[in-house]
Symmetry: C2
Subunit: 591 residues, 2 copies
């Protein structure tokens, strides 16, 4: 069936159901960053495969929205179909909500699968549409009727993350949540976000590549806790969950389960993380309130054992990265190495670790101009051969039982020019500036972002992305609430949070540079003016000395980099053979 | 009538009206920063006079909430009354919403004057109370029944702010708003905030000391504009408004006027700025949407003529401040000068300006330990005599036809010790660090705040307030949306915005230091990475050289301060006599 045939079929069904406008998102019912293939609905209807996409179909129009990262790719992929590309955040294009409003008749009907849109997004849409009295129908999934061979959800087994990794038992975690529920007068607390559920129940799975989460919902009351998840994949854990008074029910049973709860009970849930179908189910039957997900903050501040584990896993991961750097520096130009070989080599090196599960995201191995594309990933069809000159940017990480890693190094493979050195050094200055920060307890990432931007901005340069994101514990490589970026988000940095520190310089058609370390928020000092925090860089992988222009660094910066490299040498050398240790010594010499 | 008699009377009325809990705010119907005396309701019922206060009365309890600035004062003022002090943001005290929830019976009734609470606050309260099914009654003002001699609203005349000051005509402004209304599909746009109304109609008044606003509402449609304001005070302007097709109606008529609007029309208004009574009136009869106040952004970016005026008024205002500095330095110790004399002297000096109206806020003249109290103001009963030693902090400003000023200088009056010099110099470093910023167009103040904090935080110091606030044009000395502080507010800095730059050091029982300049956001440069902005310091008043420890400054900082003082000298000297010019030369010598 071609794309256009799919659209034709959908339009027939829309007509039959009196639907004027059909909106298709690419979200799963949990607004996961990476949705299972079952929810690749925009790809199914339009052929477009980018990670940000919304499609809208009307009687005579088919529109696809995406952002600047994907304009070229989307135009190519929808060529020859009914679809027109609509650019997000572009003055010449309406946002999809405005398009829906303008192209649906007064009093008409716009439809989307309520499970696949967040409450916040659905409410915003509804507000836009109310001006024209347009109704939203959300309990119908027309795609399902035309999608033959729609992928099923994965059946990968779920396992118990032992306490020596997790550091806190599920009963302790449940107790903490119940205490907060009491304080908030909440009888029934509904959790929809998959990493929060995995964290709360100390369980991990693998529904989607790179991810340790599993499709599920959870409902916590004072005297019960129910996990909604497909019974086959949870079978190994049912008994241990029962011991902690956690009941397992089928994934789709949550809607019926909620219907049967005592109508006097008061619900709490996070509108930002709950899909609109579930929201509607709750709010049309119960009194409730919107509460920031309780688990998010608890999960973000790693406990002592998690922190020990994370320090350990980052040392081992840096060892594998170092071996990779040694291998590529010694072999580039001697044998044919492509960008695709990088991920293979890294998996080979990391796989020797007994705690390694799989990569924590699709490795970015980008040579020279490819690295200027921030979300580049090499494919079988299109990838570069790595040559003994210039920069190779490698952004990779692993899911381990004792933590998640995410590190980027830009590696010098031969001759580089002065501008490359200058850009690399400015990136390093940005990284150091943030790494050395001393800040008041309660400061948000949006304030600290200035430290990383300043060396760039003073030179009229910038990178078009955040400086840092939270990292989970054997969980999401992107984890909230903390974030270091220009977006003014109210998420104070707290002791025990783990964040990436990844400024960069991206020069189109030339090269890309990123130096990404992992930093831990820790107590620094207390004075009459308050409690101060600072960072500890816990990913001890060397930064390429060959690309540093020392004349651009201050004395304090030089001191910092020398101390960092001394620490790298001390931490990694116990794991290395003599040859590797010698290599590391050269990589960590004082500048 | 004593405080307790007032509470007793209120309780009787509550009983009669079946009200369990009565909430009293100190807001006017426009959430003005400074409310007219008519709305000093918390003061009337409790005796407490602080600027942040909420009172809650139940059958057997009377509670007063305020924040840390006022704990001591509040405790003193409510001593001997029924009232108990409740500390805001303190772990041992509930917020008032929680108290209302906990102390009102299930299904009970909590009441407040809907005009005196913002929609946002009322909605938050209602959400808290819904868990216990408590109803909010908002159309009753019991205070009015027991408040004999309740102050009337002021009758001060409103005047037309001429185009050579305002820079843009009211018809141009109305046209801009109507264009935005069209884009947003809004038929009826309701404005409640007083500074926005004053700006939009190029009118100024003086309902409340220091303020140029006047109690009013406005409703804009495509073919009409109505200003609701008491007819007596607007009489001088009715004719010129009519020429711009603006109709004047009585202040309280807005509710009836709305009732008579065509029910098919779609309303837009800002929930954050609209009182709950008005919100309820609109939303229960019309379709509507919440839209960030359109006028706020238009007003914040000053036009070319406003900027020219602001530069000019800041030069003249700095001349008056310089004369003040000269006078106090030359006369302290020779005659008795108290903190109270400072405001008198400043008004005397500023009054010579033909455009001066009145001070833009209550002058803070605080000598030594008094200056450590951030919101100190000297009173007839309690004020210090200024001695020829230590620091005098003077924070003052004026309302002029051609702009609003707000400047703080910390003046050396004699001997100061090393710590005082160090703190003064760190404050200066903070001010310079922000003043020199180069930043990407679209950066929010919360990011730039880091620049001012860094010199403090690196020394484990901090000031417990924001670094900067927007300043109006012959309007509020605090004007949004821009703000430089640790609060993550999404308000990008834009060209033409005016902000204060006021870091400080406050040492309890010792002294307080603040150096407050006024900065203008302007275009800096454009590169392949984006458009960059920077600041221009437009308040050319010298910074006291006697308190600077040059050894703590970098070469760049020394260069900045020398260039600043050169600029100060060049701008002020044309206005000075020989004696004054000589004094200024000494105040602006190179360091």
């Amino acid at each position: 069936m071609t794309i256009n045939e799919r659209v034709d079929k959908l339009r027939l069904l829309m007509q039959k159901n009196n639907i004027d406008t059909y909106i298709i998102t690419k979200f799963d019912p949990h607004q996961s960053e990476y949705a299972p293939a079952r929810y690749d609905s925009v790809k199914f209807i339009s052929g477009f495969t980018g990670s940000n996409a919304t499609a809208v179909i009307t009687e005579d129009k088919a529109m696809l929205w995406t952002d600047g990262r994907y304009f070229i790719q989307a135009a190519k992929q929808i060529q020859g179909t009914y679809f027109d590309l609509q650019k997000e955040n572009h003055p010449n294009f309406p946002d999809y909500q405005t398009f829906v409003r303008n192209s649906t008749k007064k009093g008409g009907c716009a439809t989307f699968d309520g499970k696949c849109m967040s409450t916040l997004a659905a409410k915003n849409l509804a507000e836009k549409l109310s001006a024209k009295n347009i109704n939203c129908k959300i309990d119908i999934d027309l795609l399902d009727e035309i999608w033959e061979d729609r992928p099923e959800l994965s059946n990968n087994k779920i396992f118990d993350l032992l306490i020596n990794y997790a550091g806190k038992s599920r009963s302790e975690k449940l107790e903490e949540i119940r205490k907060i529920m009491s304080g908030e007068n909440i009888d029934v607390y509904v959790i929809s976000s998959l990493d929060d559920i995995a964290w709360l129940f100390n369980l991990r799975g693998n529904d989607v590549p790179y991810n340790t989460t599993f499709a599920s919902y959870a409902i916590v009351e004072q005297d019960s806790a129910v996990l909604f998840v497909d019974s086959e994949k949870i079978s190994d854990c049912v008994e241990i969950l029962r011991q902690d008074n956690v009941t397992v029910k089928k994934y789709n049973e949550i809607f019926d389960y909620i219907k049967n709860i005592d109508k006097n009970k008061f619900f709490g849930f996070d509108e930002n993380r709950t899909n609109y179908a579930l929201y509607t189910e709750i709010t049309s039957n119960f009194r409730s309130k919107n509460i920031k997900e309780i688990t998010v903050d608890l999960k973000a501040c790693k406990n002592k054992i998690e922190i020990e584990n994370l320090k350990s896993v980052n040392i081992r991961d840096s060892v594998y990265l170092l071996r990779f750097i040694k291998w590529i520096k010694e072999n580039v130009g001697k044998e044919k190495i492509t960008e695709l070989d990088v991920e293979k080599k890294l998996i080979e090196l990391r796989s020797k670790d007994k705690n390694f599960l799989f990569p924590s995201f699709n490795t970015i191995a980008a040579y020279m101009p490819n690295a200027a594309m921030m979300h580049y990933s090499a494919t079988e069809e299109s990838h570069a051969v790595i040559e003994p000159k210039g920069f190779l940017l490698v952004d990779s990480g692993g899911q381990y039982l004792d933590g998640t890693t995410d590190v980027t190094r830009t590696i010098v493979l031969g001759k580089i020019d002065e501008q490359m050195k200058r850009d690399f050094t400015l990136t390093l200055k940005s990284n150091i500036s943030l790494a050395r920060a001393i800040f008041l307890d309660g400061t948000c990432g949006v304030t600290l972002d200035m430290l990383a931007r300043q060396p760039m901005w003073n030179n009229l340069m910038d990178y078009k992305c955040g400086t840092g994101h939270g990292i989970g514990f054997c969980l999401g490589v992107h984890e909230g609430p903390q974030n270091i970026s220009l977006r003014p988000v109210a998420a104070p940095l707290k002791e025990g949070m783990i964040i990436s520190n990844e400024p960069g310089v991206y020069r189109e058609n030339m090269y890309g540079i990123r130096t990404e370390t992992t930093i831990l928020v820790k107590f620094h000092a207390e004075s009459e003016f308050g409690r101060f925090l600072s960072f500890e860089t816990i990913s001890p992988c060397p930064i390429d000395l060959e690309a540093i222009d020392v004349s651009l660094l201050t004395q304090d910066e030089i001191k910092w980099i020398n101390a960092f490299h001394e620490d790298v040498f001390n931490k990694l050398s116990p794991f290395l053979n003599e040859d590797e240790r010698y290599f590391l010594r050269l990589q960590t010499l004082d500048i």
